[in-house]
Subunit: 335 residues, 2 copies
């Protein structure tokens, strides 16, 4: 691991994006999102995925200059087409649009079809929370988990975000519906470690903490077993219904991970409650939560707490980046 | 178990409700909800909980004639006070009000404070889906699960519903965020059985499938471990923020399970997509899901499927009711 300065990272990514067809200010915005994701400790949806992102641009699956366009609307509910533009730019744009709707109607909801991977879902939660809004958003994905009772992957892990604003640090839950991602399981496997909890079934149909066995069976567990499986189905249904876009089933027919459907729902709480009272509610709930008696070696935190800590530390000391990844990304300046 | 005819059950409950201060048509509606919940196989939120419901009425915690009143509103976003009315009636009324908002704005959202237990959350999902709407609603609860990393119960299990309409049978996910409810664990314990999956920690801090050990430690697991714990926190935050009502923390200070906060969010998909296309999307997704290759002895179903089967069977053959429960409920006619 080497340590990279946040601004150096952002400048490099911006330069590469410009070279691959992005214009200002989109190149800046897109570089900022990838850099921020890396800064807060989610390199898997930051610098470590940047080369793949550029590859998708090169092969025409991500269209740098494409912008979302509105297809249908009815007051606070809108349907947009992502036109296969860059996922992070589409997502940011739709978050902002849902915020506008919430300012006008109290709540706004958008179904977005035909978009691309938005990288770290939580980014949009932080963005909305920073402006004082509540955000609930999710995406469907290609089929990567078996539905409950099945062996064949026909569910997405459909990451979902719930975010709300807080003066001392926003509360942002960003969770995929798989208990462990394939990336995390591969990390455990590489280090020869077991998963801390059962993460799926092996080929014999036994629950296992052996990451290799799950990478082999392709039978990762949804959170809460049948419950997460049901939730994944409903999120795919609602996203596909209101966006009019591809379902997990449709996405599974393509050879490329592109064209997914998403939902953005924003609430403006200050339209019906005084800001001070909202802040008081949030503070009281978080204080109560954090003061719970700890288990031995237990730590009680709230969703988003680690993001803030990583951010502060990495801004000061530089962002830890795998040196091979850094060299590869730098080479994208040339081709 | 004895078998009770649906209409006999409904008439009995209606008579008892009238005796305890309910008026027409509220008594009919409330009896219909308790009876329907029993009919579809959820007696725990139907007849088995009816005596407790009447007790709460007797002690003044549920006020039979109270109606929800609006406190704040901004177009598609409203805040209501449940005035400690009967939870099922408040919930049905708020679902219908959110439907009206969705008809006007495409989406509608309500924060309801100061209400009472709504019994089976899925009931309101079926109600909205039957009318062609998408419903997302949830409630907070008293603290009954430790947050992740803690031993002390400071999280609600905050049941949440996601529902969408389907011609051949609606898709209704109704899930609490605990892996197993205390009621289910008590059933397993009574039958001397282990849980099929780890359901919590024992007093020594080990994950266990022994229901008695969890009933003793009061450390049930949230779904997906840290993920469900985070989700429970966010649902409590959002419900408390927009309703202006009691949080799980506040509810924990009371001696009675009353006064909770809820969110009702309804989307009218047909405002932005043709009904035929919506139906087609839903059918394709469910067909794909159900056709997944099964595990040995596995069964793939969709959320709501069992409800429909139980309903059909119990309408025909009568509803299985515990005879002692039946006698107790009948005795409520007299006092």
């Amino acid at each position: 691991m080497i340590r990279i300065d946040f601004n150096d990272l952002k400048s490099l990514l911006e330069e590469i994006l410009i070279k691959h067809g992005f214009k200002y200010p989109d190149a800046q915005t897109c570089a900022a999102i990838f850099s921020e994701n890396t800064l807060v400790g989610v390199s898997s949806h930051g610098i470590n995925r940047f080369q793949q992102f550029i590859d998708l641009v090169k092969f025409g699956h991500i269209i740098p200059e494409a912008k979302p366009s509105i297809e249908n609307s009815f007051n606070a509910l809108e349907q947009w087409n992502g036109n296969l533009g860059p996922g992070p730019l589409n997502a940011l744009s739709m978050t902002d649009r849902a915020i506008e709707l919430a300012q006008k109607y109290g709540i706004g909801c958008i179904g977005l079809r035909n978009t691309n991977h938005w990288m770290r879902a939580g980014y949009y939660g932080w963005h909305a929370a920073e402006k004082g809004f509540i955000l609930i958003c999710w995406t469907n994905t290609i089929p990567i988990m078996p539905p409950w009772g099945a062996t064949e992957p026909r569910s997405g892990n459909n990451p979902i975000v719930f975010a709300c604003s807080r003066k001392e640090g926003h509360i942002v839950l960003d969770m995929a519906l798989g208990q462990f991602s394939y990336g995390k399981m591969a990390n455990y496997a590489r280090q020869g470690e077991k998963l801390p909890f059962p993460g799926g079934y092996d080929n014999e149909g036994n629950l296992t903490t052996n990451p290799k066995a799950i990478l082999d069976s392709l039978r990762p567990l949804p959170i809460g077993y049948w419950k997460g499986s049901g939730l994944a189905l409903l999120l795919d249904l609602i996203a596909s219904i209101i966006s009019g876009g591809k379902s997990t089933s449709d996405l599974g027919k393509d050879s490329v991970d592109s064209g997914m459907s998403q939902v953005y729902c924003v609430i403006d709480p200050e339209k019906i409650r005084a800001k001070d009272l909202v802040n008081q509610t949030v503070s009281e709930i978080i204080d109560y939560h954090l003061a719970a008696e700890k288990a031995d070696n237990g730590k009680v935190s709230y969703p988003g707490e680690r993001v803030l800590k990583n951010r502060e530390e990495n801004l000061k000391n530089g962002i830890p980046v795998d040196e091979k990844v850094w060299q590869k990304v730098k080479s994208l300046k040339r081709n």
